[in-house]
Amino acid sequence: MKARVHITLKPGVHDPQSKAIASALKGLGFGGFDDVRQGKYIEIDLADSDRASAERIVKEMCAKFLANPVIENYRVDIDAT
């Protein structure tokens, strides 16, 4: 069982990296987008076969360590394959 964790900055937190990425994309001639937000992606291979308990544990990992709740949101997806 695999957990896929997406960590992104909360809306309203100034993110100069995303601004730089957006400006570089525009410089390359890409358009048709308003905003860019960058973040982190973490995969965790889990021994647990129970989906609900796996999700609970990974959310606890996020709250305690993987994300900083002052500035970051996280989303946990559990993949059974």
Binding site: V13, H14, P16, Q17, F65, N68, V70, I71
Partner: protein, 229 residues
């Protein structure tokens, strides 16, 4: 006065602070390796600058969860003075000793130069030998020094006189051009509510010897010796 300096893999200002503090105290601080779980009795604990654990995950995040930091947090909550400089400031916010967070510098560049700071609260064990509003010069050297806190936290910092230093121009003016990293309200350093923990991005230990270009950090160490001995 007894001082202890915590050393993580990647700390690189531990010896600088040991020399600077040692000169004011008159004896060398005890160096504590991060794997140690026992902290000797100390009146002051320093979490030094550097790049602990390579800044993996987030600057300060790995060190914040190391066994020795549990002991540091317990001592701080019991009232022991803690000085957290640069990476130490990042560690202190990550482990909840200080509010807010240090984000990537707003210009995305590593900033390494002298900055002017205004002393915002000289009524603490760390700052009592400075004057209110005095302008001092310390070096900064960081990539993630952009202090951020939500509006409610910022309000409580103001209400409780928890702002220690602000980035300013040479006359003490607070315009944005004097702000090297985009920090909220030009904040360079803050205290906890009890004023026994100070976190700051600039390096007082690198401004404690005229041979190194300045001595403005020295009153901080003299303040600590005077108030903790």
């Amino acid at each position: 006065m007894k001082a202890a300096v915590i050393v993580f893999p990647g700390s690189n200002c531990d010896r600088d602070i040991a020399v600077a503090l040692g000169q004011s105290i008159g004896s060398a601080p005890t160096m504590i390796w991060h794997r140690d779980t026992e902290l000797p009795p100390a009146d002051l604990i320093v979490v030094p600058g550097g790049f602990s654990y390579g800044d993996y995950l987030r600057a300060g995040a790995m060190a914040a969860h190391s066994p020795i930091m549990r002991e540091v947090v317990a001592r701080a909550r019991a009232g022991t003075a803690v000085l957290a400089i640069c990476n130490g400031f990042q560690v202190a916010t990550e482990c909840g000793l200080l509010p807010g967070v240090l984000l990537r510098n707003s210009n995305l560049k590593f900033v390494c130069r002298d900055v002017h700071l205004r002393v915002e609260n000289p009524f603490t064990p760390f700052t009592q030998q400075y004057d209110d509003g005095e302008v001092v010069t310390f070096p900064v050297a960081h990539h993630d020094g952009n202090y951020f806190a939500d509006a409610e936290t910022h309000r409580s910092l103001l209400d409780n006189d928890q702002i220690a230093f602000r980035y300013c121009d040479r006359r003490g003016g607070l315009d944005t051009s004097a702000n090297p990293n985009g920090s909220l309200d030009n904040i360079a350093g803050i205290f906890n509510a009890n004023k026994n923990v100070l976190g700051l991005m600039p390096h007082p230990e690198r401004a404690s010897d005229p041979a190194l270009g300045g001595n403005d950090g020295r009153p901080m160490f003299e303040s600590l010796v005077a108030s903790l001995s």
